[in-house]
């Protein structure tokens, strides 16, 4: 069981991510954010539980749906938003956008638009940490869609034989864009595959913050002491479409409504209230703070300069 203090702090973090993503959704609709975005709504407990227990120097790789991981790892709001708008002031100077967002100063080795693309990179980062003996660990986030990619299996095997300090976190929301997990995955619990690679596989209800926190704590600690990798399968129902604007024509309307009923933030709120915590104040404080940050970030992003076309070739090579 986690302490109420921890739960409260985590609730704030999750709410912050939720408000950020809801704002991104709304702003995206206005039409001036280039390309497309994928928001992290409903999965907040995973990012907060895992990244919240990592050091700044620990490394993570993320997916095309990476905003939540970034925020939970301490990435700042303003340069994130600027990157979504492709501005020079963005984290990646506008070269990457939402799906490739990265902040190496906070150990975020990048969101990756190739499904499963980040998995092997995190294993490599763990290899570096092990060889350098510097105490860092790596975590890779990926979805149920990635669970069938060959490179995941190669990476799990490699991490296992070398006992690398890495945690595999599978965020299973039941959908790979329009394809249900129930159709495409040969097992009902992806974590059962972990046994095939001689590592612990843990299924967690990601709508239960406490459970998520404990699972993350154990996996991180295992990696840290050199006992090797863990596979966490964090399950939660997908609340929104695959990308912002996805009408989900392929999805049963009621199933989607029911997804909202298991929302982790609502559930956590109820738990805190039952413990006598003044949730209303917490929500109001968090909202006020993040909304100010967001207002300023979106304004700055919209006014921000585009990268100069003279610098088109700037980051292709290290000199």
């Amino acid at each position: 069981m986690i302490s109420i203090k921890t739960l409260e702090q985590s609730f704030r973090e999750m709410l912050r991510i939720r408000l950020f993503e809801e704002r991104v959704r709304r702003e995206f609709g206005k039409g001036d954010m280039p390309g497309f975005v994928h928001v992290y709504v409903g999965a907040e407990a995973i990012a907060v539980a895992v990244c919240g227990q990592l050091e700044k120097t620990d490394m993570i790789t993320s997916t095309h749906r990476g905003h939540g991981h970034c925020l939970a790892k301490g990435v700042e709001v303003a340069p994130m938003v600027a990157e979504l708008y492709g501005r020079e002031s963005g984290l990646c100077h506008g070269r990457g956008g939402s799906m490739h967002i990265a902040d190496f100063s906070k150990g975020v080795l990048g969101a990756n638009a190739i499904v499963g693309g980040g998995i092997g990179l995190a294993v490599g980062a763990a290899l570096a940490a092990q060889t350098l003996k510097d105490g860092r660990i790596a975590v890779t986030f990926f979805g149920d869609g990635a669970s069938n990619q060959g490179v995941l299996h190669e990476s799990m095997n490699l991490a296992s034989i070398w006992k690398l300090p890495v945690v595999f976190v599978c965020e299973n929301n039941g959908w790979a864009e329009s394809t249900p997990a129930s159709y495409s995955i040969s097992v009902s619990d992806i974590a059962t595959r972990a046994a095939g690679y001689s590592m612990p596989g843990v299924v967690v209800d990601a709508t239960d913050y406490g459970a998520m926190h404990i699972a993350a704590e154990q996996a991180i600690s295992r990696a840290r002491v050199g006992d090797g990798p863990t596979f966490i399968e964090a399950k939660f129902p997908r609340q929104v479409g695959h990308y912002v604007g996805d009408g989900e024509a392929y999805r049963n309307r009621d199933e989607r409504k029911n997804a909202r009923d298991s929302d982790v933030i609502s559930k956590t709120r109820l738990v805190l209230e039952s413990q006598g915590v003044d949730v209303i104040s917490i929500v109001s404080e968090t909202e006020n703070q993040i909304i100010k940050e967001l207002d300023s970030a979106f304004d700055a992003a919209r006014q921000g300069k585009w990268p100069s076309t003279d610098e088109l070739e700037k980051y292709v090579y290290s000199s």
């Binding site: 709304r26 995206f28 609709g29 206005k30 039409g31 001036d32 954010m33 390309g35 497309f36 990308y243 912002v244 604007g245 996805d246 009408g247 024509a249």
Partner: protein, 88 residues
């Protein structure tokens, strides 16, 4: 007061069409109620209310415009509703 817009869908950046309003003008709307159907390229999509309030429709069925264009408002009081209606 919240502006009701025809939002950008995925990567498509062209004009979109307000096919039809699904809730009558002046109705008290809840978050999640489906307000209207819009179309871009070939796909029709239902748009839900992001907020609660009284729906003010400022454009009619069949309206074509760029993504992000305002087609209505969700206001909190009857007075605001009347005010906006009066301006038209």
């Amino acid at each position: 007061m919240l502006e009701v817009i025809m939002p950008k869908q995925g990567m498509y950046e062209g004009d979109v069409t307000l096919i039809r309003w699904l809730i009558p003008d002046g109705t008290d709307v809840l978050v999640g109620d489906v307000l209207f159907t819009m179309e871009n390229e070939k796909v029709e999509i239902d748009i839900e209310a992001e907020d609660a309030g009284i729906l003010v429709q400022s454009q009619e069925d069949g309206f074509v415009a760029a993504v992000g264009t305002v087609i209505g408002y969700l206001v909190t009081t009857r007075a605001e509703y009347d005010q906006i209606k009066a301006k038209k």
